[in-house]
Symmetry: C2
Subunit: 67 residues, 2 copies
């Protein structure tokens, strides 16, 4: 929880042509992204364990991301 910094999400919104970004909007986007990353991480760990590995590898991320 609250692992991700907020400033990059303000930049991501500006890169998407936002003229102004309220602080709580950038924070909300960070939270949404973190929730999504946590859901992906759960599936990624599951997939690695299913493959009999203790180390998460890039192919586990790709497998889940391309799902």
């Amino acid at each position: 929880m609250a692992e991700l910094p907020i400033a990059p999400f303000e930049r991501i919104l500006r890169n998407a042509n936002a003229e102004r970004v309220s602080d709580d909007a950038a924070k909300a986007l960070a939270e949404v992204a973190e929730d999504i990353a946590e859901d992906l991480a759960r599936d990624i760990v599951k997939v690695a364990k299913h493959a009999g590995r203790k180390t998460i590898k890039i192919e586990d991320v790709e497998f889940v991301a391309e799902d």
Copy 2:
């Protein structure tokens, strides 16, 4: 591009019970999360403009995230 730091994604994977995380797996998850955030940001900016605003507000994020 490459706005998000990688270390938080290693922590997110560990919080999801990963025993070990390869560096490129954490980087790949950061990239996936950034792609998703960029897609969301495009929709968020569109929604705010549709509402006649130049400032991105939290309700724009919620509108898109709950979509």
